[in-house]
Symmetry: C3
Subunit: 253 residues, 3 copies
């Protein structure tokens, strides 16, 4: 087959989980497949959150790309297909340009072939905002902590407030007259690092945080960056293999 | 904090499960917190069943009560919070009178704080009827047996009949033309004791029995007391820690 | 009890699972209980699929049949009762003719008795068509392969095409512009045998295949027989104990 690219991987779990995470924010997306890896930047339809996905070429056992190719697919459909893979399968992604379809082979004791249609790309390329120097707080912690705080908070509210001072990182929510609060001090074993150049407090939508935190499945630790009444950035990394980041707009009362 | 009470426990499981059982019968309730323990007596809105809950002070690792305090809360809300505890957490219940809220701390590798509002107590105190000498049958058995009989019976009926003679305890239900029947004789290993002063038969609502039997999670054995066309009393005990009892009105045709 | 038959078994799992499979196709059915075993042949209400069920007498530890007896029951009701059995129970089926009910005892540490009504038999006996010599393809394979192909295909289509040539067995489906395809060659370890007297291709309803494949629970391997634009026959055998077969009509465009 005269394929524009041919990518082979055994990382069934993290590929399925990361695409699944993306699909909770965007239903269609354009993947850019270059020599370095597979990249997607997309904004959710209500313009509140951006997802930045990088799957490094090293996550593949074979990685052949003839020329940089953007492919747009229905991500929910892609996830449905990937959920049919067995953990021990080898997955081959291939683009047969003539057919205008993404071909997905699952090779185990049985050979299974799937193909899904490409969608005409209409979107202009989405740029990632360069926020990094603006953030006043950078925290590394067990992703599970944020996961728990989100679940605690969603019992009573639709937003979660992040607050950081030099010595403490606090997550809280209040609703009706109930309150929920998680406190992490420098000596908490779950707090890996806390860099605060300026005390910061901001509030974000639980709906979007819940979607982003699904990425905790692929990463143990999480880097959080935010600033008072400013977007938050969440970086989930599976070492050497992939990174999924989210930027979520703040809620200002 | 100038708290009216401060109760500390590691018994996450049985506290969560017993409150969960109560919440299936009553959505709001008044807990009486005294030197001896935490007590609640409540009647379900349709007046068919009474729940009597006693959590002994010995179930707590720290138990400080300044003065006997009644607190009324939404039990469903309390259960939602307790379900967020991890099995290894230490839970602290505290009443900060000035705030008119029940404070719940979950202390594990992370400190989490929850608070729920108190509800103005309007109810007069509910008295437990003194039925004990009136019952003609007293049975101790594996709680699982009643649990299975209830599930068997609910396939075909909305009531379950209890029948005891000197030598036999029978549970049965019939509906359309299907029938379900469980028989326990004195030699059944699941029947611990059977005291029958007078042959008894009575029928109770499966809806209420199903709610009560959730307490089987906290107790292995169960004491059943009843009498012909008279209420039934079910006692579930987790030794030294707590007791949950239910009194359910009979159905008379 | 003067019972017309009395069948005792410890095979709780396969009996429950096989009756459950039947119930997805037919809600009522007539079982013929003879010296050899329990047999049922039934056609689903829309006339697309036939199920042929044989439970051999050897699957029972006691098997007494006074005279050949047809009994018609609501199979969904029977399955509901069987799902109440514990894996370690001994199950006794008995017909007390005078009562016109099927009696089912579950004997474990507790004795439980169930009875369900017989339904008046109105149907004439259903004959199994003698297709065996007409099929042009006979395949034995791991039942799991067909199970996976059905699940793959149901993402995108409501039919699955079976295609066999001398050296290859292919299952495929297409919908909108997505495609799914499973290929098995003679060297696939999951393909036990492949006998093709004539290349064959036919398409069957995924709805009915899905119902039939539930029988994979009771059998590891599966025999498939079909012919171009002709019915398919699927045979699931649990050695010595029972066989469930399905005949499903083809879809012709």
């Amino acid at each position: 087959m005269n394929a524009l690219f041919r990518l082979v991987t055994n990382e069934v779990g993290i590929i399925r989980d990361s695409f699944d995470t993306i699909s909770s924010l965007v239903s269609e997306g354009t993947f850019h497949i270059s020599k370095d890896g597979v990249k997607l930047v997309a904004i959710d339809p209500s313009n509140v959150a951006m997802v930045i996905f990088n799957l490094f070429s090293i996550a593949f056992s074979e990685y052949e790309v003839k020329e940089e190719t953007p492919i747009t697919v229905n991500i929910e459909q892609l996830v449905k297909v990937l959920k049919r893979a067995k953990a021990s399968d080898q997955i081959v992604f291939q683009l047969d340009e003539s057919k205008s379809r993404l071909m997905i082979q699952m090779l185990g004791t049985v050979k299974r072939y799937f193909s899904i249609p490409l969608i005409g790309t209409v979107e202009s390329e989405t740029k990632v905002p360069e926020f990094d120097r603006k953030f006043t707080t950078k925290i590394e912690l067990d992703a599970e902590i944020l996961e728990d705080s989100i679940k605690d908070a969603e019992m009573i509210s639709d937003s979660l407030t992040f607050e950081a001072t030099k010595d403490k990182f606090v997550l809280y929510a209040s609703g009706d007259s109930s309150e929920v609060r998680t406190e992490l001090t420098r000596d908490s074993p779950s707090l890996i690092s806390l860099d605060v150049s300026e005390s910061s407090r901001a509030k974000y939508s639980i709906e979007y945080l819940s979607k982003a935190i699904k990425a905790a499945k692929i990463a143990d630790t999480l880097i959080i960056q935010f600033k008072t009444d400013f977007p938050i950035r969440l970086d989930f990394k599976a070492v050497d293999k992939l990174q999924i980041s989210f930027i979520i707009a703040p809620r200002v009362d």
